[in-house]
Symmetry: C2
Subunit: 176 residues, 2 copies
C-alpha cells in the first residue's frame, strides 16, 4: 500500500476550510497526535530518508515504518503500520534494540474527507499551520499526484512543501 | 518485571501431569504457539544472549524483547512484551529495519497453574517434551529460583536445562 501525499504551508486556515466545504469535503474529526521518531541502528534515517515512529493518536498507538520518498514532488512512500496495545512498552523495546529517540512532534490535526481523498489541516508546535492532501493506492501513479496538486491549487495553496514535519522540526531545533 | 524461570527435559509427560494434579495445580489451557525469532542489527543476539520475537499465540500476536540471562542456574531475564494487531505487518517492519529472521519454533503448550506459579508442558517440534516452571516478580531474588527448582525436584525432573528452545533448535538445525 502506498500513500500518495502532497503538502503545503498555509497561513489562512479559515479561508482554506471554507473552500474545502464549498468543494463538498466533510469534517471528520479533530485530534491530538504525538509522534515519537527514532533513528536507525545501522544507518542514519535522515540520510536514507526512512522513518520509524510511534504514533499516539488520541490514545491509540501505532508503530509505523516509512520507506524513502519515491519522487521529488510528492511525498509518496511505502508505509507499513501496525496497531500496538502499549506505547511505553513498545518505546522500551525499541530502545533496548538500539534505536535512539530523535524528536517528538506534537500536532493538532483537523481531518476532512471526500471520496478517497483525505485533507489534514495541521497545527505543528513551533512551526504553524500546514495542509496535507493524501490518498492511499495500491500502485504508484503520476496522475494521482497531479490530481492532488490540482486540489492544492484550487484551494489557493501557493507554498508547496516536500519536507516532512520531522525534517522541519529538526531544522527548527538546530537553529534554536 | 522479571520472569523467574527454570526448565527441564522430560520423557514421562503423563507421570508429571499426574504429580502436578496431586500438588493441586489446575489445568488452564492447551495451545499452539509459533515463535519467529530475529537476530540483532548491530550485534549477534546469540552472543549477547538477547532475543527478539514475534509470538503467534493461538492467533493473538505479541512483540517480545528478552534481555540477557541474569544468572547461570535459572533462565531469569528481563522481558518486555507488547500486544500487536497484525503479525505480517510487524514482520515486514522488522525486516525493513534490518532485522533478520533466524528461526521459527513450533510448540504445543499445556499450561497448569497454582497461585502465582505457572507450569508449561511443552512439545517442541523435533526436540520432544520439556517442562518450564515460571513466576513473575518485580525484583529478582535467589530464594524464588530455589522454590522453583524444588518444585522440579518434587515432580521428579532430573535433567535441568538452561538453554533456550531457540538455542536448542539452532543446534538441531546445525547438526541436521
Amino acid at each position: 500500500m502506498f500513500e500518495i501525499e502532497v503538502k503545503g504551508k498555509i497561513d489562512n486556515k479559515e479561508e482554506i476550510i471554507k473552500k474545502l466545504k464549498s468543494l463538498n469535503f466533510s469534517f471528520i474529526e479533530k485530534k491530538i497526535q504525538e509522534d515519537i521518531y527514532f533513528n536507525g541502528i545501522d544507518r542514519d534515517f535522515k540520510k536514507t530518508d526512512e522513518a520509524l515512529r510511534i504514533r499516539d493518536d488520541n490514545g491509540i498507538y501505532f508503530l509505523t515504518y516509512k520507506g524513502p520518498k519515491i519522487d521529488k514532488i510528492s511525498k509518496s512512500r511505502e508505509e507499513i503500520e501496525v496497531k500496538v496495545e502499549d506505547k511505553e512498552k513498545l518505546r522500551k523495546i525499541l530502545k533496548k534494540l538500539g534505536f535512539k529517540e530523535s524528536l517528538t512532534i506534537k500536532k493538532i490535526r483537523e481531518i476532512y474527507k471526500k471520496d478517497n481523498i483525505t485533507v489534514c489541516i495541521d497545527y505543528i508546535e513551533n512551526l504553524g499551520y500546514f495542509i496535507e492532501v493524501e490518498k492511499e493506492t495500491n500502485k504508484y501513479d503520476e496522475k494521482e499526484v497531479k490530481q492532488l496538486l490540482d486540489l492544492l491549487k484550487d484551494l489557493g495553496v501557493k507554498q508547496l512543501i516536500t519536507k516532512s514535519y520531522l525534517e522541519m522540526v529538526a531544522e527548527y531545533e538546530e537553529k534554536k
